[in-house]
Amino acid sequence: MATYELTVNGKPREVNVDPSTPLLWVLREELKMTGTKYGCGVSACGACTVHVDGVATRSCMVPVSLIGKRPIVTIEAMSQDPVGRAVQNAWVMEDVVQCGYCQTGQIMSAVALLKHTPKPTDTNIEESMGGNICRCATYVRIREAIKLAAANLK
């Protein structure tokens, strides 16, 4: 066990866990932030996506020991983020969600895309969102919502 001082959504948090513990389980089990979801556990579905130092990161595969001083941002902070808010609003307007399980990761990836590429093309969206899987196949609505969010962020 080791103690780690993390910055999560702008707040300092301290956890005492095994160094090999994936960030996902630190968030969900230690910090009780259950907005980030466990999907495949092998980086293949994107449900666990958070931002680490601004980079969309698969939290299920990153041991907490490798986070260092980098700030972590989760879905819980998206409503206070201008791009996050725009994406969430677009998600509602386009009625994206079916079962909803993957949508945390979808939104976190969409926000990361729009922060880097404010006016994404269809190709940009397909490539950047290609690692986020949706069993309900909401892909068309996700694409339209990203375009709507981009338009609303003018």
Binding site: P19, S20, P22, V42, S43, A44, G46, T49, V55, A56, T57, R58, C60, M61, V62, P63, L66, M108, S109, A110, A112, L113, K115, H116, T117, N124, E127, S128, M129, G130, G131, N132
Partner: protein, 210 residues
């Protein structure tokens, strides 16, 4: 009839013999140089083949693709999760290499990592579009072409092989998700550097052919 003094004849004879000797010695020296040069090239080419055997190992060639994606595993399969190259070889926003690959190996989860994880540029592709490794001659030409290799000369290539973090990673590739150690290149890093040095000292010769 011209009359020559004995001394003049002796001087002429001496100079003639000296000149002939110089020519003979020079010719022998040139032949020796040519032989040594041919031997040096042969040894350099042999060293290159050792280098090539490492460059085409999956730990190296998986990120020297000609396609829009990296490969993974000893079977050099396409990287899972729809990972793409991106404009700088580091993936695309929301699906960066750094989305999973950290500054070091994550042995508990089986994700390899190293500093500045990225694909080699397309100018350094060592495969064709069908994912087959290029020939020894083609790879050699590519990595000695300074318009393609970030302007590295022989010593620069040696330094790259000695010190570049992702080159060094190939000999410390960490564990697979099942806990087993990833396979290593066919020789040690020390042997790889020594082979590169011999190849560089021989003038970075490349095999003939396509």
């Amino acid at each position: 009839m011209p009359r020559y003094s004995a001394a003049g004849v002796l001087v002429f004879a001496f100079l003639f013999a000296l000149g002939s000797g110089v020519i003979v010695v020079s010719a022998l020296s040139q032949a020796g140089d040519a032989k040594r040069s041919a031997e040096g090239r042969t040894q350099g080419l042999a060293a290159w083949e050792e280098v090539y055997s490492v460059l085409t190992h999956p730990r190296c060639i998986n990120c020297h693709t000609a396609t829009n994606y990296p490969q993974q595993g000893d079977d050099r399969q396409r990287h899972f999760a729809n990972v793409v190259r991106g404009p700088e070889g580091k993936g695309v926003p929301a699906l960066n290499c750094a989305s999973c690959h950290q500054e070091s190996n994550a042995d508990s989860t089986g994700v390899p990592g190293g500093h500045n994880w990225h694909l080699a540029p397309l100018s350094m592709k060592w495969q064709d579009m069908n994912d087959n490794p290029l020939s020894s001659a083609a790879v050699c030409r590519a990595i000695t072409d300074r318009s393609k290799n970030h302007n590295l000369d022989g010593p620069g290539l040696l330094k790259h092989h000695e010190e570049e973090a992702l080159v060094l990673w190939a000999w410390n590739p960490g564990r697979r998700p099942d806990g087993t150690i990833r396979s290593l290149p066919p020789m040690s890093h020390q042997q790889f550097v020594a082979a590169t040095r011999r190849w560089v000292e021989a003038g970075t010769p490349c095999p003939q052919g396509r």
